[in-house]
């Protein structure tokens, strides 16, 4: 499936009919999309969906089997040298000498990029002052992620690729990463984030691409993806006869998680009244009733299920 998020001249990344194969296995199958400067584009998908392969082709690590990629107007595979100066990269894991110290690494990367980023300011921006003289191998998972982010920021990037940037990070660390992502976006950087964490995507995304089995199954802003997908959500610890409730309401009802249920296709207050009446009549305890747009995880589950079928 082909998609274009926004038609604009301010395109930071343009992917056109990208195909990536590993032997007989097709990891990415004719994917097309664009991402704009000054926006956060989140690539969502389960493991093996083709997110990392697509990002690696954009970073110039993988040559496409077919199709083309343009990053800041450059071919990342053939014009790597020009691109490296203005592109920040945060790998999913690793990429750092285990015996190197935090401050040394940040200084080394700031010097390699030579874009005027002050290493000490950068270390304190990512909250690593207290471990500045600690070796990489002794850092916690969250500190490693923040260091990797700092090395990407050393480029003073016009485009930045962040692969699972909040993986293994605690709550405060996540807030910090989100605030840095917002700063980058506001400064006009094209921010590309690959993640399988739907909550995270919901918090940071301007635009979303949903990958499944090597294809883009949906794309658009969060609002666009959720629009027209109203639902009523409620909790119950009782045993619920879904068929009976669905027949009463005239709408599909499904259990989404343990003790959590949704009535799809409406947020009408009259249906909520029907729901509570049915619960009372059937001696079923329900609570936490809410109505509104479908959550991103429900959109994601529906789209990937549709794609699989």
């Amino acid at each position: 499936m082909s998609s274009a998020l926004h038609a604009s001249e301010n395109v930071g990344l343009s992917v056109s009919h990208l195909v990536i194969k590993y032997g007989d296995i097709t990891a990415v199958d004719h994917v097309s999309f664009t991402a704009q400067a000054g926006r956060v584009t989140v690539i969502l998908g389960p493991n093996g969906a083709g997110k990392t392969s697509t990002i690696e082709a954009c970073e110039g690590f993988l040559a496409p089997t077919a199709g083309s990629v343009q990053v800041l107007g450059l071919d990342p595979f053939l014009q790597r040298k020009q691109l490296n100066r203005q592109m920040g990269i945060m790998l999913q894991e690793g990429g750092i000498y285990p015996s190197a110290r935090v401050a040394e690494l940040v200084r080394q990367y700031c010097a390699l990029y030579g874009n005027g980023v002050d290493a000490d300011v950068l270390i304190s921006r990512v909250g690593l002052q207290s471990v500045a003289s600690t070796t990489y191998r002794r850092l916690s998972g969250g500190e490693k992620q923040r260091l990797s982010l700092a090395l990407a920021l050393a480029a003073r990037p016009h485009i930045i690729f962040l692969d699972e940037p909040t993986s293994g990070i605690d709550v405060n660390g996540r807030d910090l990463v989100r605030s840095i992502i917002r700063e980058l976006r506001d400064a006009g950087c094209c921010v590309i984030v690959a993640t399988h964490e739907l909550d995270e995507a919901e918090r940071i995304a301007d635009d979303v691409l949903i990958f499944h089995r090597g294809n883009v199954v949906a794309s658009g802003t969060l609002e666009e993806l959720r629009s027209g997908r109203e639902e009523i959500r409620f909790r119950s610890t009782s045993r619920i006869d879904l068929h009976s409730l669905s027949t009463t309401l005239g709408l599909p009802v499904e259990q989404t998680r343990l003790h959590e249920f949704t009535v799809a296709g409406t947020s009408d207050a009259r249906v909520i009244v029907q729901l509570t009446d049915w619960a009372k009549a059937n001696n079923v305890d329900i609570g936490d009733i809410g109505a509104g747009s479908q959550r991103l995880d429900d959109v994601f589950r529906r789209l990937t299920a549709e794609s699989a079928s």
Binding site: R80, M87, I89, L91, G94, G95, E104, L112, Y113
Partner: protein, 241 residues
Amino acid sequence: MKLLRIQLACELRVLARNGEQLLLILGIPMLLLSFFSNVDILPTSGQSSVNFLLPGIVALAIMSTAMVSLGIATGFERSYQVLKRLGATPLGVPRLVLAKALSVLVVELVQVMLLIGLAQVFGADLGALNIASLVLAIALGTLAFAGVGLSLAGRLRGEINLAAQNALYLVLLLIGGIVFPLQELPSWLHWVGRISPSGALADVMRDVFSGTSVHGASSLVVLLCWAVAAQLSAFNLFRWN
């Protein structure tokens, strides 16, 4: 030039923090030279122990730096994706390779100076040493062993590469005539040793340090062949990711 200098400093700093590598490139050669120069148990064909040992130990030092140390470090950097990450900075791949080559040469310079200094303390006679030939022998040995080390590092997983490099180091140490003359080996193994890169380098080093041509051009040709073949192998086999 600035980027190269930054990366070279980083390579040397990482090496200096690695205790195992320091033991391999400095500890073992200096220990072998010190011990066997002072404990007269080796058959040395009439030479003083230190005069016999020094060329072989210099060959061992070149092998440990260019093959084992470079190979193990590069293998782990590949596994940890350090090469991949650095390749995406303005440093680029050519400067990264050059920084690694220069770091090997710096270490070899330190090794040779320390080993020669130590040998002199033990009474070595260096009157016939030809510096130009020594530089040529080191260059060919470095190309040969770096090629072998990077061929393994470029394909094997970090831990398997570590084991393979150490095993190869031990085999080449034993069959290369480094701490005892090749003539002491069974005849078939003697010839395997002669055509091995460690045997060829040890023979060339003996001629260089003694100012003679006992082994003729054959050892030099064998070493040259290893240098070319190993570099071609590394070029074809090495994978960055």
